[in-house]
Symmetry: D2
Subunit: 157 residues, 4 copies
Amino acid sequence: VAGAVYVGVIGSSVADSDLEALAEGVGRELAEAGAIVVCGGLGGVMAAASRGASEGGGVTIGLLPGTDRAEGNEWLSIALPTGLGELRNGLIVRAADVLIAVGGEWGTLSEIALAVRASKTVVGLGRLPVGPDRADAIVSASDPRDAVEKALAVVAA
Amino acid sequence: VAGAVYVGVIGSSVADSDLEALAEGVGRELAEAGAIVVCGGLGGVMAAASRGASEGGGVTIGLLPGTDRAEGNEWLSIALPTGLGELRNGLIVRAADVLIAVGGEWGTLSEIALAVRASKTVVGLGRLPVGPDRADAIVSASDPRDAVEKALAVVAA
Amino acid sequence: VAGAVYVGVIGSSVADSDLEALAEGVGRELAEAGAIVVCGGLGGVMAAASRGASEGGGVTIGLLPGTDRAEGNEWLSIALPTGLGELRNGLIVRAADVLIAVGGEWGTLSEIALAVRASKTVVGLGRLPVGPDRADAIVSASDPRDAVEKALAVVAA
Amino acid sequence: VAGAVYVGVIGSSVADSDLEALAEGVGRELAEAGAIVVCGGLGGVMAAASRGASEGGGVTIGLLPGTDRAEGNEWLSIALPTGLGELRNGLIVRAADVLIAVGGEWGTLSEIALAVRASKTVVGLGRLPVGPDRADAIVSASDPRDAVEKALAVVAA
């Protein structure tokens, strides 16, 4: 898809229904905007974003930690086993033009940190794992639509 | 694409017109069979296979060695920068269910070797970089259609 | 060195003299305890820890982000280019039995997060990049000797 | 060890006594020349080279495919788990200034191919997995001393 924007959607593999609703909304809005979702391919926020993108007619790529494609969630368009374990977090950052974090724990924090190191913008929804001292590095969003608009605006700039 | 087969298409980034014709045919046949092409995303055999898949209405994923999406060829559906250099060769092997080698030099040889190590079948077209002592490890094919049929038969088995 | 403990020492490549003094002390104490230092091999905290280990007669391994051994600091015993960029942060975590963070910014934060994900203890000195909500995951230390004692105690347990 | 040469020693994890004798000789000669051995850290040729280096008072670094340091052979000076599986083959190539192949099968072939791609010289002993068409890319050696002399000469040049 020439010219498409790739947006990493990151967050915990275990998420409550509020975070899942946000992630699903982000996936749907990204799909409707024609963006490609890149995620870790597993459950929780990843699955919810994939489901949302699928509902919106979009494409989601899952970069899986293991070597078995079957570990990917059912809403992925493309499931790619990497066998890198948690080091695949860095690949998500490299594959993305910009990232949207929906809540998250330590794995998400590693992705946010690597994204900042790679000078890629992270837009945040929900309670993020970043401390108050570092919150300035994140672009705060109020809802899924706002998060997607802000993420796409960064790439268009 | 639930249930789709992922076929790695590997070969040199510099190829003559005969090899490019073979690679384009492989890409087209894979697309017509509904398989997803995974490749290194650059020129030569990779570009020809991507072009063929595009002509056939299929999907090609390029796993790029660098960190710049723009280095991908113009026929990729999905271009993913990895920043791993030649270590991305191993990711192509991990992402593929089976591989088709179209000619190739040292980079292709590294992929064939890693594929054998990962117990994944490699179907070969054209002059491969494998010595005669090891040629038994490759399933030889006579033309693109034969290569695709043999690759998909392995996965279906 | 059979039975040796490998301790990752992490922190910024740019550090003030207070942090460098702490890191140098950590390196020296680790060397005197017979532990092997694993670090990112560059400047700042990494160089100070390497210098301290060298002064103490110990061994420091630098896992470098680039492909040029010459980018390693002059106090490394072993300098290993990885060519993985920031993804080498995850290799430091995998190579270490336990980690000591001396201050740090986003790169260090990615290492702390990956360490927690890998269930490896992180002992902290100085102002860490972790927010107050997550500080419980870090074992706080008062000075280099305390940090080393706490790190080695975790591995011995 | 400032200024030391790092020599990758590659070969099968299962080797007959002739190959093991060659690998042990290579390790010993490298140690006596003050070079550092880098290998995959497991058995067969890797263990024999590590043993030889240990006998010669030298240093061997094992880059392990798994995440458990205990999988390393007993003669390693430094054992580093990478968790990368066969992708650690590429790290051995990156960490080495030059490589010596002692026999070998598909894993070794992947390393030779990646070394050629990285423009690093491979010196060969025993029956190599490279076909006759590509044998010109390897510097042939007659015995361990010859292999080590040729490898070190390449780096000194």
